[in-house]
Subunit: 266 residues, 3 copies
């Protein structure tokens, strides 16, 4: 496993992979714009009539349960199975798992039915899904009864995924190695959907580096964190930070990116 | 009743209440970001399977009929009843009541079935719901055949709510007192969803001051108006004003806020 | 036919026409804000219970299939027929036609059932609908086997519409005349929903100049392109460009607009 964030980003911008996203109403515009700014092509499609066809055209699929209803879960299951049948990587963002039984169950149904490649969530959400103690208030993780590095490793093992647990420091694990990513800025927590954006960008990096999901997941968070650092410099608050975040994603320079990435084994 | 906008804001930022919002597709991102920027935690959830549980976890519930359909009305009724059964305040934003019969009826169904705490709308929408003459074009209030102070008082009495009627000057009433709030900026009318944001922020202030809904509703509009004044200073138009509005909400200073608030009895 | 972009814009701002939009979840906020910034009034409504009434109140209807499902197609058919029965112009944006069979069929169903005034799409989408070879990846046009000027003319003739094909240079045709519009900026392709915005603005211009759909469609693209040029000057990337785009739409000056418009017969 090699962390080469700049190299993966260069590859992604050359190939412009299509990333199919079935996500929540709150952040659709934001994750599409983050995907475009990074250099990939987003497509949003949720109708049962077309999700299998669309997933089959894509280089990665991102499932996000942030504003669920029954039809959407069914579409996610259809798309997820279609993607995996063709070897396309799948990211699951279990938004709000632990907050309501419906969300926890929906996340479990998807994990059971779809061979998820990367599970990207906050500590409370991921802890809920591995059966550890957690407190989730709405879509915010308040507390988890387990250290994040250990949580990432445990989730990877028990759920058979690469687990990507974001927080002040992010932790990504395949069940053996745990990588800690220390990029980012506190303003990320002041804008809704930045967690969802990190899942979308995880899909983009997986599309460019499907054979190494652990590295791709870590690189996605590192790149997003560096962009957040750039966006925060000069931002007057969460609104201008948010606009500048897309500028910063578009301006990420593959040549210098790895000099700024702070990834290490945890 | 005491207007203490800074004190309520300080309380809100310490407690970070969860504000459950069942709102329209157009503004979900915007009301979530306004809620976060102010200092509370938003959660969007509309599935019938989870709205009662989510509303029960929240400190306030905001219902907004801006992009209606039948499933969403049912979810609003379920969530609204669950919230009131637990004493959680409910804000209703009757977007477009008066424009189509479906919207007028939906707003009436919610007012009949849910003990709404604060009804926050424009003059045309509120006038429609009290049976006064009104002209609503789409979601814009064009004319109302009644003075806004009197309209707020009449709506409060007839509908058994705190009525919050926004416009160039806002008027809030519990049926006895009428408060006029003279903060704000004309650019608010150039950005979609600023009315919806004012409803979301009303929910936030109610969550921090549930025992005084009249004061909380007035404080919410005053705080939002002050933020709009700050955002407008230096904005080059509606787009940069919009980004700066979140900066300004986050930068509201509880120490100095009341010196800028223009609230008085009408 | 006279191109008088400034004159149509002045008319639009005086009348503030209501533009009913049944559009996709990704861009609803953006097309509403573009409509408001230009000077018209947007309304989003998709429930079968109200779309006919709302369309009947509007001066133009914009249908956009970007995030389809069956209920939404039905609503579009109902609204489209109601609009045309009252002589209200209808814009169709066939987002992603050619990417999946479901989207291609949905666009065809609407074209068959509704007398569409202007079809606004990218080259791949429009080529798909005239039966020409095309490559559409997600919602991006990759290639079309026909020159854009000829494509616009052929689409207008075969589909009985004014065809508005956007790209680096836009082409609009009524089947006889083909107009080329050379305004715009490359940053438009870095922000999601700018194609959808151009469809919404086409609806605004049609509302102001319904008797001349070819000229109105060209003027809408020219005005949007000029705004994009203004927004790009000084933007640091796609995020700040996006915020500045609304500023620029609001700042368009009817007095000087036509001196900047680059429209000519192709």
């Amino acid at each position: 496993m090699t962390i080469d964030t700049g190299g993966t980003l260069r590859e992604l911008r050359e190939r412009k992979p299509l990333v199919h996203q079935i996500t929540n109403y709150v952040v659709m515009n934001e994750t599409a714009n983050a995907t475009l700014a990074l250099g990939a092509l987003p497509v949003m499609a949720h109708a049962r009539e077309e999700v299998e066809e669309m997933a089959g055209l894509a280089s990665a699929l991102v499932l996000n349960i942030g504003t669920l209803s029954e039809h959407w879960i069914e579409a996610m299951l259809l798309a997820g199975r279609a993607a995996r049948a063709r070897g396309i990587p799948v990211v699951l963002d279990p938004v709000g798992a632990g907050a309501t039984a419906y969300r926890t169950e929906a996340a479990r149904r998807i994990l059971d039915a779809v061979e998820v490649t990367v599970l990207r969530g906050n500590a409370g959400e991921v802890a809920t899904l591995v059966g550890a103690e957690a407190e989730v208030r709405g879509v915010e993780s308040i507390a988890s009864g387990i250290e994040p590095a250990e949580l990432a490793r445990a989730a990877a093992r028990r759920l058979g995924v690469v687990a990507s647990v974001t927080g002040p420091v992010d932790h990504v694990s395949d069940g053996e190695t745990v990588l800690a990513i220390a990029n980012g800025d506190a303003l990320l927590a002041a804008v809704t959907g930045t967690g969802c954006m990190s899942s979308a960008l995880t899909g983009c990096f997986l599309a460019a580096k499907p054979q190494e999901p652990l590295a791709a997941a870590a690189e996605a968070l590192a790149a997003f964190g560096v962009a957040a650092e750039d966006a925060a410099a000069g931002a007057a608050g969460p609104g201008t930070f948010h606009a500048r975040l897309y500028d910063a994603l578009a301006a990420l320079d593959p040549e210098t990116l790895d000099s700024r990435v702070r990834v290490g084994e945890a």
